[in-house]
């Protein structure tokens, strides 16, 4: 068996006239949390269903550890998935839901109790699922994904419906799972949910890949070499830096944004010319900003539907 990875190669899937996924390729590496991001309707769920062998792609492959999902003999021990937390029979107890899943792989019942404890559902699982809150359903769904102790995890919008404490919990959990050497793919339509969690991002829009890169790279690219400068002598600073080759834009009455000059050079120039400066700093973009920049032209229901896709 090869490494626990998810490999999607040239995946294409259309429903009627709508192209849901259009030639998508990416790989999820073990030991990382990979965020799978795109606006609603970008094709995230379709891709995940294709990876799990639920939807047959029109073209391309989706492999788990080098094999199609349908060839796995004990899939729960290789992939844990949370697709739709609401997929529960309302009159079945949460614990019984996990029990039939455990039976399907011949896993012992104490494993069910282990995962229930892990997600903090050991008490609630004795009640019927019909009365669960969305957060409880999410936790039960995560328990189901963890049941087989799988090296690959696929979670579709796991943060939905969780309270702030729950969100913190799941972040810690995902980091720990990745640290153990598992490949974790987490989808979300909100970039901010993945801040501090994901190591790597796969961004899609309208079924196509927009970005597939490490979070650190992405942030650096979005931040660019912009330097933020606060000074009382706005005009002098502007003239000086423009003369030295920088591009300067006025942000507000006291702040300037400079590109084209490294921060050290700016400080050197300004101190030589004795221009008073109260604050100099490299501008740091948020993940949200990076994402907005990437998807600006790829948003499906956006204002420019014929806009060019940004491909890295």
């Amino acid at each position: 068996m090869s490494d626990a990875t998810i490999e999607v190669r040239d995946l294409r899937k259309r429903f009627g006239r709508t192209v849901a996924v259009d030639g998508l390729s990416f790989t999820v590496q073990p030991g990382t949390v990979t965020g799978f991001v795109g606006p609603n309707g970008a094709g995230k769920s379709t891709t995940m269903r294709a990876i799990l062998g639920l939807d047959a792609p029109d073209q391309g492959t989706a492999l788990i550890g080098g094999r199609p999902y349908r060839d796995l003999r004990t899939p729960l021990l290789e992939v844990g998935a949370l697709l739709d937390a609401a997929a529960l029979h309302p009159s079945r107890r949460g614990r019984d839901h996990l029990r039939w899943l455990a039976h399907s792989h011949g896993l012992p019942t104490h494993r069910v109790d282990e995962v229930l404890e892990q997600v903090g559902m050991d008490k609630a699982a004795r009640r019927r699922a019909g009365g669960y809150s969305l957060g409880m359903r999410q936790r039960l769904g995560i328990a189901a994904a963890l049941l087989g102790d799988p090296p690959v995890l696929l979670l579709d919008e796991p943060v939905n419906g969780l309270d702030p404490e729950g969100i913190q919990w799941i972040r810690t959990l995902l980091r720990r799972l990745a640290a153990e050497g598992r490949a974790v793919l987490v989808s979300s339509h909100l970039m901010s949910e993945l801040e501090d969690t994901a190591d790597h991002l796969v961004v899609i829009g309208r079924g196509r890949l927009i970005a597939d890169r490490a979070v650190a790279d992405l942030l650096a690219a979005a931040s660019g070499d912009r330097v933020r400068l606060r000074t009382a002598a706005r005009t002098e600073a502007l003239e000086l830096l423009a003369r030295e080759g920088g591009t300067v834009t006025v942000t507000d009455r006291e702040t300037l944004t400079v590109t084209g000059l490294p921060v050290e050079r700016i400080v050197e120039l300004l101190s030589e010319a004795r221009v008073p400066v109260t604050e100099v700093g490299a501008h740091r973009a948020t993940l949200e900003e990076a994402y907005m920049e990437l998807t600006r032209e790829a948003v499906e229901f956006g204002s420019s539907p014929d806009g060019e896709e940004v491909t890295p």
Partner: protein, 506 residues
Amino acid sequence: MTTTLTPYRSRLHPARAGFARLLRAEWAKFWTVRAWLLVLAVAAAVTVVISQLGASGSIDTGAGELIAGPDGTVVRDAFRFTHRPLTGDGSITVRVTGLKGVRGGLESWAKAGIIVKKDLRPGSPYAAVLGTPDHGVRMQWNFTQDTAGSTADVASAPRWLRLTRKGDLLTGYESADGRTWTKIKEVRLDGLPRTVEVGPFVATPDHQKLHRSFGGTSETSGGGEVTGTFGHLSLRGTSAAARWTSTDVSGPIPAGVREGATGRTAVSASGSYTLTGHGDIAPDETVGDTVQMSFQGVFVGVLFMVALGALFVTSEYKRGLIRTTFTATPGRVRVLAAKTLVIATVTFVVGLIATAVAFPLAQSRLRANGYKPPAFPDYSLLDATALRAVVGSAVLLSLVAVLALAVGALVRSSAGTIATVLVLVILPQILAFALPLPTAHWLLRLTPAAAYAIQQGLTYYPQVEHNCLPESGCYPMAPWNGLLVLVAYAAVALLLAGWRLRRRDV
């Protein structure tokens, strides 16, 4: 960032072989939904209760006493008999020269021939060689047994018939010219005394007319009368009487049909005998089927089984749970097989409990209402007929659930599935009670409703013409064949479902 990590491996190991695991998972899915267990219990209870209700009617045997044949079958044994006693071995030969109805119509099973009978009491053992208008020459014995000879029609061309007795062996022959004889059959009649009654006879079943429309069927039967002519009547062997005497076996036509009509026998100068008579020598199929009457609750049980079968799969589609199922077991056909096996077993076991409880209760209730031996057999649960009906009804309930499961996997909606399957199983019955008989019979052959034939307790003999009325519990197919129709429906639906599941996205 990319540190070398040892890829993670699951620390768990699966126990058990693949399909056993799957069965266990599907079984766990079933029993953990309380409503389904409740439906099962209600199904069993309702089946038993309605069966009692169905058995609560009292008997209306109409005309007189019932006659039991040598093996206990209820029979009709009425005919015009011109006879002499025969002691020891011997043979009787006759040339049947004509057979016609007294007032025009001739029933297809009207009979003219020769008979060897233990005595003149109705229901006693006999063997006969006879001609019929539509079914050729036959040898029949002890009411239920029948063998075909040639296809000659005695109503249009004369035919020679011969019956010989040698100990317990009786042999029937026929001939076109009285010289070359063809053996029809040799049969053994146990318990024949040394002296028996032999001679020519005529008989004809009643003419039956049927009016059917929604809201009721009326069946009228006219007492048919038939005349047969016989020539060259000869008896070989020892007879205590020198002359032929004539008797109406079972007496005159019973009251209510045509009062007091008796048979007639005339002898012409040339030695030709003309016999006129009524009645029939055959099993009586107009009595109620007490086995079938004990299973009326199954019609209602079906409703719940259809619901269970459908919901076991459609509830998963409704909530998207089917994705979890197919993620845990990507082999979708295997999932379908496991689901089928679980629902089939559960519904069969519960159905069997229900029918096994309902049947003896209904039987004792029927007995209390006058359906008593000897006319009606006293069935115990382990009699072959009863056991077939009890187990068969449980199989029927289970197959209906399987059909619903398969249709559910195809249609994916509970409302559509339940309505389709129920209409398929129940509506043919309702329509069969109202539409003209041939159409009704086709409905009960081609739709899953054919399976109810498994509940029939009466044997319907081919040598008896009768209106097989669905409302009297008669089905046009033999019990197991009827059940096979439902098996075929379920199998086809399962195949389609399997084929569709493999291809379709979920």
